[in-house]
């Protein structure tokens, strides 16, 4: 007893007070850094190169919305293809048939490890390897296929983990009611698995949105420019980076509402459980 009392007496500050002091120091450092940056920066220069008001107006008025739409279309097609192929790959990985498992594993490891840039380059050169080959709906066919291939490799692993997170008892209950393996997968496992997968799949969708900036490799006409290509072209012709900054903010116009929608979906899904 006396020992313990002495121990408490020796410790000058309680852990809670110490934590509060450490946090105060962190805030102070942050504020100082902000002030230093604000003082050292050349604001007029920043305004001219990054946020030229005339160029902002110009960029928004001439082609930003079309580029935004194109980015959306490229991503949506890639995501849908990736989701379908990813689901198929996930089921192959979980299959009892060895060759299916191996094929899926090889595919996933290969395309997950390869930079998306390389996949796009390979795809734009595909007609060289197969003379006469033409992807449908140019340029969408090529873009969707390339994004779908990259996306499916990531999504397959997410979907596999989601399927495996559904308790085995669910499948047993379904099978004991006379459902076939396919019916149990479709009606019982997948609906529950997709609920588990909403957050990681959102991540992959956002990654695809950004990967869609690689479409420039395919070679596009101005009407098919995505946000990044559009911003870069405008930045080059104006010798000013403002259009690219505007185009970059265009991505946030897509991703921020997406995050909010997904958060709502998650809340709704968790209510049912």
């Amino acid at each position: 007893m006396t020992n313990r009392g002495a121990g408490v007496g020796q410790r000058k500050t309680s852990p809670r007070i110490r934590a509060r002091r450490i946090r105060a120091v962190q805030y102070a450092v942050l504020v100082v850094a902000f002030i230093a940056a604000a003082l050292l920066a050349d604001w007029p220069q920043i305004g001219r190169t990054f946020f030229d008001p005339g160029l902002i107006r110009d960029t928004v008025a001439h082609g930003l919305w079309l580029a935004l739409w194109n980015t959306l279309v490229y991503t949506a097609g890639g995501f849908v293809l990736g989701l379908v192929a990813g689901t198929l790959l996930a089921m192959m990985r979980l299959s009892e048939v060895g060759p299916y498992r191996w094929l899926a594993t090889i595919y996933i490891e290969f395309f997950r490890g390869l930079p998306a840039l390389v996949v796009f380059m390979a795809f734009s050169l595909l007609p060289l390897a197969f003379p006469g080959l033409a992807m449908p709906l140019p340029p969408y066919g090529t873009v969707w296929a390339a994004l779908g291939i990259v996306g499916s490799a990531y999504m397959a692993e997410t979907i596999r983990a989601g399927i495996q997170a559904v308790p085995k008892g669910q499948i047993e209950a379904a099978r004991s009611l006379g459902m076939s393996a396919g019916q149990a997968m479709w009606k019982i496992t997948l609906p529950q698995a997709f609920r588990i997968m909403i957050p990681p799949l959102t991540n992959e969708l956002i990654m695809l949105i950004k990967d869609s900036s690689l479409v420039f490799i395919v070679g596009l006409s101005a009407a098919n420019f995505d946000l990044t290509k559009f911003g870069r072209a405008a930045a080059n012709s104006n010798v000013n980076i403002t259009p690219l900054v505007v185009a970059g903010l265009g991505y946030l116009v897509i991703t921020l509402p997406l995050s909010i929608i997904v958060r709502r979906m998650e809340a709704a899904a968790s209510k049912g459980r």
Partner: protein, 251 residues
């Protein structure tokens, strides 16, 4: 009756998990309308035996016949055969993304291809049968364990099975919720349902079962009328087990 008209007939059943021999040459049959309770220590193989009846576990050898149909025959349509065998699990295994009603209608519409309104009528009827008429729209997460298990029973009954399997249906329940589930099961037995019940509820077995089977070490050690087996067991292993179950605090 047992000899002339068995609903379930199991012959020479062997089941291994790896090198673990869980069921050893089991012969076992159940007559139509009979209620059989299977008791025994954990690891005795009683749940595995039950899961072999609807082939949730595939035995390595032996035959399982239910309602004149051999389930272990490779040509048997196992999905069709399982429709007539209802199963109730220890962990309920309700579908969490469906309401109580839809838990019951799902197999009716997808497996039996019934019209939506007919499926709902059947489902409501069976939810009423287990005393949950007012909970049809509730999701499993909003139900107590006892209510969930009763929905699971209604779900199995909705398929109009010839046989009901119960795998420790009250083992995951809080003690005060056990009674409502056992009451439903007792009523089912009184209505003449053929039932195989793996359970630790000795009182239930004594009162409801036509026959009690004691399993240990992957085999059937002895079986008989509950009054005889539970009061004057022949085998020392049965006596031992009953003593431990009925007087858990002693020694």
């Amino acid at each position: 009756m047992t000899q002339t008209d068995p609903l379930v007939e199991i012959r020479g059943l062997n089941k291994y998990f790896g090198s673990n021999h869980v069921l050893r040459d089991i012969d076992f049959s159940v007559a139509r309308g009979e209620v059989v309770c299977v008791i025994g220590p954990s690891g005795s193989g009683k749940s595995t035996l039950l899961r072999c009846v609807n082939l949730l576990e595939t035995p390595q050898s032996g035959t399982v016949k239910v309602n004149e149909q051999e389930l272990t025959d490779p040509d048997c349509d196992i999905d069709a055969a399982r429709r007539q065998i209802g199963m109730v699990f220890q962990q309920f295994n309700l579908f969490p993304h469906h309401s109580a009603l839809d838990n019951c209608t799902l197999a009716l519409t997808t497996v039996l291809k019934k019209k939506r309104d007919e499926a709902e009528r059947i489902a409501r009827e069976n939810l009423e049968r287990v005393g949950l008429a007012e909970k049809v729209d509730a999701y499993p997460a909003r139900l107590s364990g006892g209510q969930q298990q009763r929905v699971a029973i209604a779900r199995a009954l909705s398929m109009d099975p010839a046989l009901m399997l119960f795998d420790e249906p009250t083992s995951a329940l809080d003690p005060e919720l056990v009674g409502e589930v056992l009451t439903v099961m007792r009523r089912l037995a009184d209505e003449g349902m053929t039932m195989i019940v793996v359970t630790h509820e000795i009182a239930f077995a004594r009162e409801v079962a036509d026959r009690v089977v004691f399993m240990d070490g992957g085999g059937i050690v002895e079986q008989g009328k509950p009054s005889t087996l539970l009061s004057e067991p022949r085998e020392p292993r049965t006596r031992d087990f009953l003593k431990r179950v009925l007087e858990p605090v002693a020694d």
